[in-house]
């Protein structure tokens, strides 16, 4: 598990080629104009990058997270926005695979795995972020339907997605009153609010969802009534691995640019990598990235082996995203004035990195998860 298997190496090469040829040409322009292109996502799907861990029965590759993280890393090296897009569209797939019934799986999984359909995940609300169990969107039973009302915030693919997994309150207060629903993008009563103007990940659309008497059949419920938070949190455990892999791809891209620059740029008749101040910075970037990569590999391996992986996934997300922030910031420093210009990609990497410390559970929440695990272990 420490190095790529032959299959992983083959997938890495194919994903690299696909990402460079599909995403490379417009990555800079799309960042500047905040443009998301569903046709590019479909092209990634055509190349087989959108359903790595979904079973072959439903059109996926039937591989594990150990392969999925390799693919995400390669996409992120070109565009972290689209790595996030693939990861987010992967969340409904993970949820359907674990909690969907046969009809739900047959209806949605093949399209999602092929990248023909775009998926999204709607948990956060204006007043409910880290405290997800306090969400206030409601789903009220009415005959054979549920009627949804409320607002969801920070939804990646909002307005673009074909299917949303939506957490809504069907019972009393707290986590036990929440259920999960599959809501199609064209459902009546679902509309889209403001598209956020963001610092980074600008090719990835983040949009508000508004439910106004949005009616979905009762068969849209995932798993059992009252199990919505369980569904959401288990998806987030897997999602943390994917965000961590995306962060590693971003770190690698930044390190590649910075190390190459530091061997080409000469000052005082020396390559600047030969100045200890620069060389040691690059050494730390490489060491931090390698450590983060090992953590992510371990989390993916545990998941693939069917073992408990929540704690390691939290560690992986924490370390990989903090590393991405540090590595991309230092990459700008290595490139000096050039790094601060939009001519070089490292300023984009730095802007893209920041949000990864926030999404899929802030890094403070990851530490909370870890502290709680420690408390459980050491409390007498």
């Amino acid at each position: 598990m420490f190095v790529d298997t032959e299959t992983q190496a083959d997938l890495r090469e194919a994903a690299r080629q696909a990402a460079e040829s599909i995403l490379g040409p417009s990555v800079k322009a799309d960042d500047e104009s905040e443009t998301y292109r569903k046709d590019l996502f479909a092209a990634l799907g055509e190349a087989g990058l959108c359903g790595v861990s979904t079973s072959e029965e439903f059109g996926g590759l039937g591989l594990g997270y150990s392969e999925y993280i390799v693919v995400l890393e390669e996409i992120a090296k070109v565009s972290s926005s689209y790595a996030v897009s693939v990861a987010v569209s992967g969340l409904p797939q993970v949820i359907l695979a674990a909690y969907g019934n046969q009809a739900q799986k047959e209806k949605w999984l093949p399209g999602l795995a092929a990248g023909e359909l775009l998926g999204a995940f709607a948990l956060s609300e204006p007043e409910s972020g880290s405290d997800a169990g306090s969400l206030s969107t409601t789903a009220v039973r009415d005959g054979d339907d549920f009627v949804l009302n409320g607002t969801k915030f920070w939804i990646t693919h909002g307005g673009y997605a074909d299917i949303y997994v939506v957490m809504a309150r069907t019972g009393g207060p707290g986590s036990k009153g929440v259920s999960a629903f599959l809501v199609p993008g064209d459902a009546e009563g679902l509309s889209f609010g403001k598209k956020e103007e963001k610092m980074g990940m600008r090719a990835s659309p983040t949009v508000e969802l508004i439910f106004e008497d949005c009616r979905v059949p009762a068969s849209s419920m995932l798993h059992n009534e009252g199990q919505g938070m369980h569904v959401a949190l288990s998806a987030l455990d897997s999602g943390r691995i994917t965000i961590a892999a995306t962060a590693n791809g971003l770190s690698q891209a930044a390190l590649d640019v910075a190390a190459k620059y530091a061997t080409e740029r000469r000052q005082f008749r020396k390559q600047i990598i030969d100045f200890q101040g620069v060389g040691f910075m690059l050494a730390d970037m490489a060491a931090d990235l390698e450590a983060a990569r090992l953590l992510v590999r371990k989390a993916a391996w545990l998941k693939d082996e069917g073992q408990s992986f929540s704690t390691i996934a939290a560690m992986a997300k924490l370390k990989a995203t903090d590393t991405a922030m540090k590595v991309t910031t230092d990459a700008v420093q290595v490139l000096g004035g050039y790094g601060y210009t939009r001519e070089y990609p490292v300023e984009r990497f730095m802007r893209d990195a920041k949000v990864m410390q926030i999404v899929e559970g802030t890094n403070q929440i990851q530490r909370l998860v870890l502290a709680r695990a420690l408390k459980r272990k050491y409390e007498a």
Binding site: T7, A14, Q17, G48, L49, L61, G62, L63, V71
Partner: protein, 267 residues
């Protein structure tokens, strides 16, 4: 109609080539191998003919050792929708074949596989001989159409545009039972999809030797070679350029003219 595509394993085009100590070949330790880039155009053309239902099936053929299987699988992965068959031609008796020996092996395989149209690269970028496709065509007594940048197949005939240099293009018609060598510009070769790679891993590659092909082992291999390689050498280093010093442009031009006249003797 059955399409055959020849795939040759060559060092990646950006490889740094080093000659081995006894000058019998190149150092292969750090070489990354890939499908000959011109063969990629042939492969893409073959895939498109099957996808477009103009041809019924696609057969990928490679003459090479076990290590060439990765390239064949790359071909299968790219052509996965055309469900290609794959054959590797390998036998101890083939070792040391010259281009004519290789052509005899390939021609026998084309006949055994029942190939109608054979597509190849116009040359392989390793030794740039461009001999084998022509020899295969001669051995099979079929037309050969070389340097093709546009190809249409309809019924029993094909129309090909050949790059002639200087902007000239020849338009050639031929029966489909031909050997067509493909040039840059014919198409944009696709890369392998992830599902393609996974399916290619499970694909079976047939291995045909001299006996399978009904070949007399005495007509191929080192013993039958009429062409032998003397020694491998890198091209001589180019002499470095000269920077002309001088007080001003006029003085530098004067010195340049003097050098061109007296040293280079071109004026």
């Amino acid at each position: 109609m059955k399409i055959g595509v020849l795939l040759k394993q060559v060092p990646a085009s950006d490889s740094r080539i080093k000659i081995n100590g006894d000058q019998t070949g190149i150092v292969t330790d750090d070489i990354k191998w890939e499908i000959n880039p011109y063969d990629e155009f042939a492969l893409e053309a073959g895939i498109q003919l099957v996808e477009g239902k103009i041809a019924s099936s696609l057969v990928l053929i490679s003459l090479g050792g076990k290590d060439a299987e990765a390239r064949i699988k790359d071909g299968i992965a790219r052509g996965v929708k055309a469900k290609p068959e794959a054959i590797r031609l390998d036998d101890a008796a083939f070792a040391g074949s010259d281009p004519l020996g290789e052509a005899r092996i390939i021609a026998a395989a084309i006949q055994k596989a029942g190939i109608d149209l054979l597509l190849t690269g116009k040359q392989a970028i390793d030794d740039d001989n461009a001999q084998v496709p022509a020899m295969v065509a001669e051995l099979l007594d079929r037309p050969q159409v070389t340097f093709v940048e546009q190809l249409e197949v309809a019924g029993d005939s094909l129309t090909a545009h050949r790059v002639m240099g200087g902007g000239q293009v020849d338009v050639v018609m031929s029966p489909v039972q031909a050997v067509v060598t493909c040039d840059k510009g014919l198409n944009s070769p696709r890369f392998a999809s992830l599902p393609g790679i996974m399916k290619a891993k499970r694909a079976k590659i047939a291995v045909w030797g001299a006996a399978d092909l009904g070949l007399d082992a005495g007509t191929v291999g080192a013993g039958a070679a009429v062409v032998s390689e003397g020694a491998y050498r890198l091209p001589a280093d180019r002499p470095s350029g000269k920077i002309i010093e001088g007080a001003d442009a006029a003085a530098k031009v004067k010195e340049l003219v003097r050098l061109l006249r007296d040293e280079a003797k071109v004026l």
